[in-house]
Symmetry: C2
Subunit: 450 residues, 2 copies
């Protein structure tokens, strides 16, 4: 008899996990709240959000044999292109010459992964909204599209059901479940830059575009159809430029003309998009334990992060990769053991990336436009050039390596401390090129903190 395993949620993480589990010969069923939107014109949630695939994500896809299939749907972005308020732009490479992060449409990607999972024999039930989970009995109650109810009892249950996970909600009424959810002060709205009249990209397609404005920012990622998906991040309230202060079309135009004038010129549907697209909140959640009674939380259900490090999906994919390695090692005779090993190993890493994602908003929206910050980045780049192994930029350790997030975090903190010291010298803007770089690297090396 094959072993049966049930997943809640056929999003990116649930679908990739189903592929891994099918490849291990298990009997996999996914229950998905949404309808099947493949072969229809509608996107899953009216959202056209783009994801940025980086090394951890690729690594997990490769192990599942999907790298080559996914690649054609992606566009490499080899750096940030910063847009200042005068319309000037500056390019900041993310890493070395051949390093990039890859823009891909969430919907297209999700469809591809669902197709793969089904092709391997996973069964996906759509229109199954979880109403209630009894963790002790591993019993799930669904509400179907016609309003009828359905019950399912699971041998092994995995919640890949995202930031507002129903399984996690059920865990929360268990004794001694630690939980933390925080909404940040900013919300976001998706907008759009279509191709030019001549059918071309309106901006450089090999970059992630950022209009950093301190307390708020606009970003844009390229699509295969030569359009860009833009995301506007604004405080909900408490600032002059905030969602609460935007009442009508005039306010929208005014803000875009004042702060994003070059983008404004490329957005013919700005006013309609702004009106029709929802303003969404951004949540960070952390919890523990992730497992109870042969049930497990994974991906955003276990650790939802804000999007500012571009690691939410990559981290969830890495979850799948690590879980699969543990199944490889320990087999499937004791899921509790596998799940326990998984949470013990992984929790500190997801805590680290959640924290980095939270901290990175300031870097994206504020620091990257600050001259002193740019000098700091130049020094760090030179350190990396001179000592490629001893000094790796934090961004590279997170984005272009598979080093544990917690380790990267600890090294990053150490580098930060050393750089804070370096930057205290008022002459740095003049003499940054002639610093004693060996001594700086030495400071990180000899510190006992890592």
């Amino acid at each position: 008899m094959k072993e049966k395993i049930d997943l809640l949620g056929a999003g990116l993480i649930g679908s990739l996990l189903a592929i891994y589990l099918k490849k291990r010969g298990l009997d996999v069923t996914i229950y998905e709240k949404r309808q099947d939107w493949r072969n229809s014109n509608k996107s899953s949630e009216g959202r056209s959000i783009n994801m940025a695939l980086s090394d951890r994500g690729w690594n997990a896809l490769e192990k599942a044999g999907l790298k080559e299939k996914v690649l054609p749907y992606t566009l490499p972005m080899s750096g940030r292109r910063i847009h200042d308020e005068h319309g000037n732009t500056y390019f900041q490479p993310y890493g070395k010459e051949n390093q990039a992060i890859y823009s891909i449409s969430r919907n297209v990607f999700n469809e591809l992964l669902m197709d793969e999972a089904e092709a391997l024999g996973a069964k996906i039930y759509f229109n199954h909204k979880v109403e209630n989970v009894n963790v002790a009995k591993r019993e799930v109650e669904f509400c179907l599209k016609d309003g009828s109810e359905k019950r399912m009892t699971s041998d092994v249950l995995i919640g890949s059901d995202g930031s507002y996970s129903a399984l996690r909600n059920a865990f929360q009424s268990q004794v001694r479940f630690n939980f933390y959810q925080k909404f940040i002060s900013h919300g976001y709205k998706e907008l759009h830059i279509p191709p030019t009249a001549s059918g071309d990209f309106a901006l450089d397609p090999n970059a992630l575009h950022i209009w950093p404005r301190g307390k708020f920012m606009l970003i844009a990622l390229p699509n295969l159809d030569k359009s860009f998906t833009c995301t506007l991040f604004l405080p909900f309230e408490g600032y002059k430029v905030s969602f609460e202060n935007i009442y009508d079309d005039r306010d929208v135009s005014q803000i875009f003309k004042t702060y994003f004038n070059d983008a404004f010129d490329l957005m013919p549907n700005l006013l309609a998009d702004f009106k029709n697209n929802p303003t969404s909140a951004l949540i960070n959640t952390e919890c523990y334990p992730w497992t109870e009674n042969n049930a497990l939380l994974i991906g955003d259900a276990a650790h939802a992060m804000v999007p500012f490090y571009g690691q939410g999906m990559n981290c969830g994919f890495e979850d799948c990769f690590i879980l699969d390695k543990l199944i490889e090692k320990y087999g499937t005779s004791s899921w509790d053991l596998v799940f326990e090993k998984f949470q013990k190993k992984r929790k500190r890493d997801t805590d680290a990336i959640c924290q980095l994602a939270m901290d990175n908003f300031k870097e994206m929206s504020d620091n990257i436009a600050d001259p002193k910050f740019l000098i700091r980045k130049k020094i760090e780049a030179k350190l990396h050039e001179l000592y490629p192994k001893e000094w790796q930029p934090l961004y590279s350790m997170i984005t272009f390596s598979n080093m544990r997030y917690s380790e990267a975090y600890a090294i990053g903190k150490l580098q930060e401390k050393v750089m804070d010291e370096v930057m205290k010298d008022p002459d740095v803007p003049k003499n940054w090129n002639d610093l004693d770089y060996a001594a700086i690297v030495e400071k990180v090396e000899t510190s006992g903190e890592v």
Copy 2:
């Protein structure tokens, strides 16, 4: 027409709040999950826990005209009596000569407050378990004792329904509700020391007794019937002495004989109590906002803390006191305004006391038995003696004053920093009496951090 206000939970906070609101001429109804246990032999939850009333609590009771009524049910505890492993005891006064905290039975106190609330015209419905709350409609669905359902729509709704608040659960599915719940590594079990054969207190009744043992501890508070209610705090797991390692009577006896031998001799029912009383978990919760659409969280529902500063009830009573003052100031024509003012003013204070309660476990279970800590306390006592206004001990600011918790917290942090410096001197154990006390106080005074 009188204004109608509905409270969830007739515990200590709900009952006191009902009294305040009745005195403001409002129409008050309380819905309570439990049955009415007054005039029955059963306690509310099979628990006989004692509370420690201190100044903030008394202050709130006094404003409600209840101080004289409550006093006869209390026993003053003017300090801690520390029991070491050899059966020696040491007395540490909590404050000045006439200062004490007051032991009172939770059940007796709760009954008294419910009686008062009813006498003033508040209606209490018992056996009303909240099944669901619709925050937008302010509609509450109850499950009654006979299994039937009842719905109620509220004009103004207050959740005084404790650490596992149903109203807070409903808030949690609202957009942008921040929530944090953490269970600490320790649990507790209630035990009992009966009066002696001659009908007397088995221990000094004017103290809170503590058997501090590092990672665990036992405490005892006196009761009017000359018994003591004891609470054993142990780690759930991960240590030799922990709940997971106690399998049978022999283990219980062994631990008590080894670590609490003098108490063991006074506990004839130890083994039965240990078996019959539940092992309970300890939760800390913080959340924000506390109010939404004319509904408010108060007391533990808004901020549940661990019991190690003895402030949970006192803080909840102070909540009522402050809310009442805001009603006095702003009237009842805009509850949203009153509730908004309340949360804005109060949140930072409850955050501070939650943190202090969390930190104080170490002080109670570990530090108070450490010689170096005792010298530190002596220096602080002398600082207070020499400079009674400039140096007030943190414990006194929290327990014997009505200073804002957040202010006390900030001053306490500053004192801690200064004392850390003082204690770095290796000669302190010898020369502590001859330090430059004026200079130490000066350091706190001149620091810019408060």
